[in-house]
């Protein structure tokens, strides 16, 4: 009982000291009989006393030890780190894509090489790359590009007496084709530069019915095709051309 009274007295003294410190801190001058001090002390007393009875849920929590959330903190920081890495990788990939797109837009050779690489990959996956070239005897290492010395349409094609006209890609200049381009000069009307894929009208002198595309030979991308004729080979007898490459356009 005496201890409780002493404790209350100490608490009241601490409260008075606290109120006086608050008033001096705020620059408000007070005297001991100032009603403001007594009001503030009474106001501070509303925050003292006994704790209210806990609700059933809170009483259950008061009985159990509190959880330790320290184990969750490192995992949260780890997830933030992973998120940062993912975001940085995404940004890097986007910037690389923009750079590649810019290079492809400005450099035709780059675009050509990327297309060639892509067709090689697709051909190796689907297994159609060698099937489409084997009849022509095209060296896979050269890719059958126009102007390659290893590719000679006049010597590899199984046609006899047929003038083979290599395809002139629209983007290529005729002078860059080398020996294949010189064979174009044998039949100038069929190989107009920039119009290699144009088909003559039926009945015209340069018209040759094209061979239907073989179903077993998937189309070869233009970048890897051998210098086949966009304007097909001219057969004087009117028979369909036997140039296998003509069907791959």
């Amino acid at each position: 009982m005496i201890a409780d009274d002493a404790r209350r007295h100490d608490a009241r003294r601490d409260q008075n000291q606290r109120i006086n410190a608050l008033l001096s801190e705020s620059g408000v001058d007070t005297c001991p009989a100032d009603p403001l001090v007594s009001v503030l002390v009474a106001l501070a007393a509303t925050g003292a006393g006994e704790a209210p009875d806990p609700s059933p849920e809170l009483a259950a929590l008061l009985e159990t030890p509190p959880p330790t959330n320290r184990a969750h903190a490192p995992r949260r920081s780890g997830s933030r780190r992973v998120r940062g890495v993912v975001v940085s990788l995404t940004v890097t990939a986007c910037l690389s894509g923009v750079g590649v797109a810019a290079a492809a837009a400005t450099n035709e050779g780059f675009r050509h090489s990327v297309g060639h690489t892509f067709s090689v990959i697709v051909g190796s996956i689907t297994g159609t790359r060698h099937q489409s070239r084997s009849p022509l005897g095209v060296d896979p290492r050269t890719g059958g590009r126009p102007g390659s010395p290893a590719v000679s349409p006049t010597t590899n094609l199984p046609t006899t007496g047929v003038t083979v006209v290599p395809v002139t890609p629209p983007s290529r200049s005729p002078g860059s084709f080398g020996s294949a381009a010189r064979s174009v000069a044998l039949n100038p009307p069929a190989t107009v530069p920039g119009q290699g894929a144009r088909q003559p009208t039926p009945g015209a002198p340069g018209f040759v019915p094209t061979t239907p595309r073989p179903t077993t030979h998937p189309s070869t991308p233009p970048t890897t095709a051998m210098p086949t004729t966009g304007a097909p080979a001219v057969d004087p007898s009117g028979a369909p051309s036997s140039v296998p490459g003509g069907a791959h356009r």
Partner: protein
Amino acid sequence: MVFSEAYREFAPAVVGYLRARGVPDPEAVTHDVFMAVYPRIGSLTGGRAGLKTLLFTIAHARIVDHHRRLTRAPRLVEYDPETEPRVAPSSEEVALARGTGILALLDELSPDQREVIALRVVADLSLEQTATITNRSTGAVKQLQRRALLALRGRLESQPLEAEQEGTR
């Protein structure tokens, strides 16, 4: 600090703070505040002062929620004691009336001043803790409490008898 010990030590101040801010059921909101603190008490830093700051930060947020709800809820009719047929007050009414008179002084203050005085005087928080909870600078808090104390003094000078009666009760 053990959770039950924290409840015994800080729950009265939380109840008094909520009551000073006009929350209708301060005990229930105090329970809510401590149940919100319970999952965090294991990872709490700052010791006793940190726990106290967290408690009153949550209580402050509950008060803000309460006042936001009031703006959307229909306005309640104020209790009129003249229409009350009972004439003998109960002990609870006497106890409540004692606090209501002092707390009525706070109604003379602006909401920001009332908030600062409740945190500094009722909740017994330091200047820095009050600044953290109210999201203000310590200079702003000090200025608010100075104006609030001067306003309280002016109110007491205008009505000295009531104030002294409330203060001496």
